[in-house]
Amino acid sequence: MKKYSVCIYFGMTLLLMFLVDILLKEEASYSLYILSLTTGVFSFLIGQMYSLKDHRLGFGKTRRQLEKEFIVHLGMVILFSIVSIALNYLFIFCIYRVFAPQIRMIIFTYLLALYLGMLGLLVQNVNIKYGIFIFIGGVMILVGTFFIPNRVICDVILAFFIVLFYILNKILFRKIQLRG
């Protein structure tokens, strides 16, 4: 289930990214941020609801403990989202004054994808390590966008990074999983 949901989330992120490409000609629409936030929170909620039936109850965590953990994680996600939106807002505000509209669009799209990716990974794994990975990747892509003007190549690179981070995570953070 976890694997599939991660794939679904990646797929959704990419789809949203392309939608942004189509919809967002030049100007950044903040309603999309709200949309992504809602999507993220919903995925998180669904994930948690699913996990309330998981093995942790069998291994000694009570429902009450899981609910407490859930609230903490939810707080984390919301905080992460607010910080992310604030940073993006600041960043976009700055680059609006510096860069041409075309480049702004690319930057914005990737910021959104980055944000969604971070949120998605946080949601799925409740693990900050994933967020850091995707963040580093995002920064690299962001830098890349200044040098690669072709939109398609950028998208391919982003997809490549997402897969790479997933694999890297598997290799570097391979730990015993008491499955859930």
């Binding site: 291994f59 009570t62 403990q65 008491l178």
Partner: protein, 271 residues
């Protein structure tokens, strides 16, 4: 000590006490029912009728610290590295895990041979079940196992595990069959067609009544419902407790019924 007082589950009313360090088996022909009951006893599904030392056990922190629930057909663990398992268990669940014991089980049961080599290393169903059981047995707590031996066919393997269960007592087992559990249970609870029967002596004999034209009619006519365990699906037979009066026995003989006396753990052969 777990007490179940007037627990209403489907058509059954369950009253029983499970003492510390007892190996208890619960058997029903309905897997779903069995699972529901075990989840209630594990404190995962809500119920106001189950108690752990007089306290309701549903979602009770003390009880959860003292017990572990595992569906032995599910995958929980994908490593045999005992130190990692110990680390995670201590960190996440504050449970004590006996590393050396686990290593011994892995070696004795040759669990490493129970894997499939594809793009990733995975346990076979048997392997997974063995890992689950070994893992559970290495945790010092009350253990609730759902279908513990369902995939195990090798007699050596389940005899070994049975022996370990006899040593590491305090297991509540939801049984998928009865015969494999000879010699390990102190108490057997059977959810029969209508009632719940509890057997503390597993040498108790049951009676199989065969060869009747209309067994349904005979059960009603001789008022056998209160001692009836199961009606056979394939054969026209039924299984009752060995509590037949002389008259009833005589009547059954007159109807040319064949009456067999069987040990309780062999009743499955006649279902």
């Amino acid at each position: 000590m777990i007490e179940i007082k007037n627990l209403k589950l489907h058509q059954y009313t369950i009253n029983t006490t499970i003492k510390e360090n007892q190996n208890v088996g619960i058997y029903s022909r309905q897997d779903q029912l069995l699972k529901e009951l075990l989840l209630i006893v594990a404190g995962i599904n809500p119920s106001k009728n189950c108690f752990y030392y007089q306290k309701p056990l549903f979602d009770d922190e003390t009880y959860f610290k003292e017990r572990i629930y595992m569906d032995c057909e599910k995958e929980y663990i994908n490593t045999l590295k005992a130190n990692r398992i110990e680390e995670v268990l201590a960190l996440k669940y504050h449970k004590v895990f006996h590393q050396e014991q686990f290593k011994k089980y892995v070696k004795d049961l040759r669990i490493r041979c129970e894997g499939t080599y594809q793009d990733e290393y995975k346990f076979t169903k048997v392997g997974n079940q063995l890992v689950n059981l070994c893992f559970g047995l290495c945790i010092f707590s009350l253990r609730l196992f759902y279908h513990p031996f369902s995939f195990l066919q090798d007699r050596k393997q389940y005899e070994y595990l049975k022996n370990e269960m006899r040593i590491n007592r305090g297991n509540i087992l939801a049984l998928e069959s009865l015969q494999k559990y000879q010699g390990v249970l102190d108490t057997l609870i059977i959810l029969s067609n209508q009632q719940v029967y509890e057997f503390h002596d597993l040498n108790t004999r049951l009676l199989v009544v065969k060869g009747l034209i209309d067994s349904e009619f005979v059960i009603d006519d001789l008022e056998l419902k209160n001692i009836l365990l199961f009606k056979s699906i394939h054969q026209d037979a039924f299984i009752i407790r060995d509590e037949l009066t002389k008259e009833k026995r005589k009547k059954l003989h007159q109807m040319k019924a064949e009456i067999l006396s069987i040990p309780v753990l062999k009743l499955e052969e006649y279902l």
